[in-house]
């Protein structure tokens, strides 16, 4: 474990009468790239603003190293923030924006000039020093914001969805650039995003959050391969989540069949959630001995690298990602291999995710109520 640099202890935050965080505990190691990942409204930005000092928690404490900083105002904290909309100073040019923090601290002009030039070079904005920030593109403004924050040599950099306003290609470039910068300066980055791909590709540690609670903390590989509950499994990547039974250690029953499993410790005949990733399912003929379940194809979407096929198996909609194509209406067999089966304990999220009748909860609800209406009409 790395030496902790930020520790949040039993934090509770209420915003506008709503309890956003409750009993929130998190330790961030020095030099780590930590991502807070979760849907909007999960409290991830609140965590960031609490670290930055813009929110004083109702109870609980914030520690910087060993030192308690709960009541230290933002301008006295050794952390800097990259704001979602960059928040550059419109009345200052690029140079003065980057120099802002150093001027406040009363650094010498010579040192300011050297640092600003170094920063401009690091974020690939050489020669842009005298430009007005209004004339810059989104990506360039983003770089100025990064340079402005790093010029203060913070111990921790907080990034609040900094890439959400950029287009896809630029996002990818900035992702790798941010990662590179983090490795070069060697400081802690706390990155907030709702984009799971971004979180997986950049972080050392991913903190998955929902409803103000940490659902799982782990490396990107851990949270993808070993999700702790249905929420994590669904939020990170695509997942088919089925009801299963842990017959005994290393043996799970799902979809009417028993599979060898790598998981243990659930007890015997315990109800569990079973995750099967869409890319781990093969299409086979229904009569093949490899077919574990069979169903009817209800939709096929071409995604470039693969097809996304939705298969209705006795009312449960599976998602399959495969390079083999199928036609809507085909009856196909699905082959699962024991390696691909991940078992999770039942949680409050069981049953809310994992069926591909719809992709989002919102559409699911809409569809459900529409169906109810139809039923009532009939």
């Amino acid at each position: 474990m790395l030496k902790p640099i930020i520790t949040l202890k039993d934090i509770a935050v209420t915003l506008g009468g709503e309890q956003v965080l409750k009993n929130f505990n998190l330790t961030i190691g020095d030099g780590e790239f930590v991502t807070l990942l979760g849907p909007s409204g999960c409290g991830k930005t609140t965590v960031l603003r609490t670290i930055g000092g813009f929110i004083t928690p109702d109870s609980g404490d914030v520690f910087f190293g060993e030192q308690k900083i709960t009541d230290v105002p933002p301008h006295k904290r050794a952390v800097n923030t990259i704001f979602q909309k960059y928040a550059l100073f419109p009345h200052l040019n690029v140079y003065e924006n980057i120099a802002f923090g150093m001027r406040i601290k009363g650094k010498k002009e010579e040192e300011i000039r050297r640092t600003v030039n170094e920063m401009l070079h690091m974020v690939n904005l050489d020669g842009m020093a005298r430009r007005g920030v209004g004339s810059l593109s989104g990506g360039q403004q983003q770089r100025v914001a990064i340079a402005r924050a790093l010029a203060n040599e913070p111990k921790v950099l907080l990034l609040d969805e900094p890439l959400s306003a950029l287009d896809l290609k630029l996002r990818k470039d900035m992702q790798s650039e941010l990662k590179k910068i983090q490795q070069a300066v060697g400081i802690t980055f706390v990155f907030v995003t709702h984009d799971q791909e971004e979180a997986l590709s950049m972080s050392d540690t991913v903190v998955v959050m929902d409803k103000g609670q940490i659902q799982q903390i782990g490396t990107p590989i851990d949270v993808y391969n070993e999700p702790k509950n249905a929420f994590v499994a669904d939020f990170i990547g695509e997942s088919n989540i089925l009801d299963g039974t842990m017959v005994e250690d290393y043996l799970v029953e799902v979809a009417g069949q028993r599979f060898k499993s790598l998981d243990s410790g659930f007890g015997t005949m315990a109800p569990v959630d079973v995750v099967i990733r869409p890319e781990d399912i093969d299409i086979v003929p229904t009569e093949s001995s490899a077919a574990h379940v069979a169903g009817v194809v209800t939709s096929v979407t071409f995604k470039g690298v693969h097809y996304e096929i939705i298969v209705d198996v006795d009312g449960f909609k599976w998602m399959i990602q495969t390079t083999d194509s199928a036609k809507v209406g085909d009856r196909i067999g699905l082959a699962l291999t024991p390696d691909d089966i991940h078992v999770m304990a039942k949680s409050v999220y069981s049953g809310t995710f994992g069926d591909y009748s719809s992709f989002s909860e919102e559409m699911g609800m809409a569809r459900l109520s529409a169906e109810e209406e139809e039923a009532a009409d009939a």
Binding site: P74, K85, R148
Partner: protein
């Protein structure tokens, strides 16, 4: 083509009531009573330089006082919650709903030697103060009447400042004093400029305020012009010449002011 048609009434209006009168002012300024060209009127304006100076001086003081009083208030209003904001803005505007003359008359009765304020002072054992017919009374009248024009553009600019920019400044180490000096105030410059313009211009050219609160000793350009058209010293040609010189001077002042504005953003003047 359609656009032109829609514009037509405005074009006609502007020509009739703005361009033509200005042309007439210029015409009268450069002619004598018989209509012959002359520079005599313009040359005569020079002898009133003390009136010009006094007008500019009192106007400048009134503008500075309005800015010093108006900025904190605009800042407080901008920081208040939305419901309080609309009430406070209404309170700022409220005096403007009352007739300008009436408001100035009210100040007369307040400031007179035997007025309400002096009655109050004597009642609590203070000596009487001579307030009416002083330059101070004129400045007071100007500030009272024109301060809403300072507050509103400032308020409008201040509410538009993105709170995350202020947070960014705090984040970079600025305490509240530095946040104000380095971020809020510079970012509110467009509002400051339009506020100054909108107070200074009417204050310099006012005549009612000086006439009613300043007595005979505080003659301003406005009074001078008034006298040339309606008063004893009837001379519309000279009046026009003075107006023209005043206009040029105000244009120069505004030109200088706009140098301070980087012109990136059109300020809060849009509100009015």
């Amino acid at each position: 083509m359609r656009n032109k048609l829609i514009c037509a009434p405005y074009t006609v209006w502007m020509t009739l009531f703005i361009i033509v009168p200005m042309g007439l002012v210029a015409f009268f300024a450069f002619t004598d009573r018989s209509g012959a060209f002359t520079l005599h009127n313009i040359a005569q304006v020079g002898q009133y330089s003390n009136v010009f100076l006094r007008s500019i001086w009192l106007g400048a003081i009134a503008t500075a006082v309005s800015l010093l009083l108006g900025y904190p208030l605009a800042y407080i209003i901008a920081k208040a919650n939305p419901r309080q904001q609309s009430v406070l803005v209404m309170l700022v505007m409220l005096p403007m709903w009352m007739n300008f003359l009436l408001r100035t008359y009210a100040w007369m009765t307040l400031l007179e030697d035997n007025g309400l304020l002096n009655a109050l002072f004597t009642a609590i054992g203070l000596p009487r103060f001579h307030m009416i017919n002083t330059a101070g009374a004129v400045v007071l009248g100007m500030v009272y009447n024109y301060i809403p024009y300072m507050i509103l553009p400032l308020y409008s600019v201040l509410t538009k400042i993105d709170p995350s920019v202020i947070e960014a400044a705090q984040d970079l180490g600025a305490d509240s004093r530095k946040v104000f000096l380095k971020v809020v105030f510079p970012m509110s410059m467009p509002g400051v400029i339009s506020g100054i313009t909108m107070v200074f211009v009417p204050a310099v050219s006012t005549f009612i305020i000086s006439k009613m609160l300043g007595g005979g000793g505080n003659l301003l350009i406005g009074d001078l012009i008034d006298m040339q058209f309606l008063g004893s010293a009837y001379n519309p040609n000279l009046g026009s010449a003075i107006s023209l010189v005043l206009m040029v001077m105000i244009l120069i002042c505004m030109g200088i002011m706009n140098q301070f504005d980087d012109g990136e953003e059109v300020g809060g003047g849009m509100l009015l």
